[in-house]
């Protein structure tokens, strides 16, 4: 019989496998439409950052909101080593250094043939939901760069 520590590890592993199975299954059925789920996922996560971690959206610029979302994900969740937010025209770019989700989920989903695995990216999901809440419409585009970086583009419409 597993120890309590082993049970925790097994439960975590099972949860991860369920997420991978869910992601791959949805991709099989609706293809590119999976990106439409990102804001719904973001709408579930956003209240946690607002109510429990002090995220404020009202009165901020879109880039400041994304900077704060990124900071909370790094400091409170250990989501990545660091993030860098820049804005050029209507495009806000968030560069993520050593995202822990990418190798554990995104790359695994790619191995299962999921061509748009970033619909589960927490920063893209929460960032998109936060921008929608402040009335900014932003198209999402996420890329995995060579090396430790992934890049999320929020293109303001």
């Amino acid at each position: 019989m597993a120890t309590d520590e082993e049970k925790k590890e097994n439960l975590l592993r099972m949860t991860k496998l369920v997420i991978l199975g869910l992601g791959a299954g949805i991709w099989d059925i609706i293809g590119d439409g999976v990106m439409g789920l990102s804001r719904s996922i973001g709408n579930q996560l956003l209240p946690v950052l607002e109510k429990e971690m002090g995220l404020e959206i009202a009165g901020e610029t879109p880039e400041d909101v994304l900077q704060e979302v990124g900071r909370l994900l790094v400091d409170e969740f250990g989501y990545a080593q660091d993030i860098d937010v820049t804005r050029e025209g209507d495009t806000i770019t968030v560069k993520v250094d050593r995202c822990v989700i990418c190798p554990r989920v995104v790359d695994k989903l790619k191995e299962h043939g999921v061509e748009q695995p970033f619909f589960l990216c927490p920063l893209a999901c929460i960032g998109g939901a936060a921008l929608s809440k402040m009335g900014a419409k932003a198209l999402l585009k996420v890329e995995r760069e060579e090396g430790p970086y992934s890049v999320i583009h929020f293109e303001l419409a």
Binding site: G31, D32, M35, G36, S38, R39, S40, S132, A157
Partner: protein, 251 residues
């Protein structure tokens, strides 16, 4: 008493539809820039058409492209002969398809004015409109000119509602996610079932229809109609709107 009207106010396909639904034999005279066409309807079908020396289906194909002129519908007049045996729905769809093809070949699918650079009074360029404003104008223009589409939404592939003009309130986040999923499902279904690439899908409800059309590789156009509308015309309007949206998304 004849029914008289102007094609600038009523689409020619809808005039023919009206003649068909009267249930009586009838003669429809259409006076356009290219001459006077006469169409006869019996038992709910178009049975004869003539324009100058030409007769039959080719006349219908031509007049469907007329955007201006006057019409006069006289009921109770039987057809002098029968030169058309194809059902109206097939005739209309074929005619509209030909219009689409010829317009595309001639490069006549012009960019709408709202996509052109705006000039101020001094001839200089005004600040470009935001994309969301351009998309909203495309929807406003479509709904103002369409007899059948009474609601429309433009959604990005990632589920963002870029513009909407709906006859009722809707939860935009949910609407966007649903639209993106419907598009994804449609795009998956056509090749899986051996129907090639996805172009358009129709969902019919008890109170109306939903037409989903891919608008380039970044957006989806969704049109809403009441039930019992001319779907052939709606499909063409939806495709035209989708082309304008695709151009706006690229700009």
């Amino acid at each position: 008493m004849p029914l008289i009207g102007n094609l600038a106010e009523v689409d020619i396909a809808n005039v023919i539809e009206l003649a068909r639904q009267s249930g009586e034999p009838g003669r429809l005279i259409i006076r356009g820039a290219d001459g006077e066409a006469v169409i006869f309807v019996e038992d709910g079908e178009v049975v004869h058409a003539e324009l100058g020396s030409r007769k039959g289906e080719e006349v219908i194909h031509e007049i469907l492209a007329w955007g201006s002129g006057e019409f006069e519908l006289q009921l109770g007049i039987p057809a002098p002969e029968r030169t058309i045996t194809t059902g109206w729905s097939a005739l209309l769809l074929d005619g509209l398809r030909r219009i689409d093809e010829s317009a595309a070949l001639a490069g006549e699918l012009e960019m709408p004015d709202i996509l052109q650079p705006q000039q101020d009074e001094g001839g200089g360029k005004k600040m470009a409109k935001k994309r969301s404003e351009v998309l909203a104008e495309i929807l406003d223009s479509l709904l103002a000119g369409s007899a059948d589409i009474n609601g429309a939404i433009i959604v990005s592939h990632d589920g963002l509602v870029l513009a909407s003009n709906l006859p009722h309130d809707a939860d935009e986040a949910r609407l966007g996610a649903t639209a993106a999923a419907l598009l994804g499902l449609s795009k998956r279904s056509t090749p899986t079932l051996g129907r090639g690439d996805f172009t358009q899908s129709l969902i019919q409800g008890t109170d109306g229809n939903i037409i989903i059309t891919s608008a380039g590789d970044r957006a989806v156009f969704i049109g809403l109609t009441p039930k019992d509308v001319n779907l052939g015309m709606v499909f063409v309007e939806a495709r035209d709107a989708a082309e304008q949206i695709a151009k706006a998304m690229e700009s």
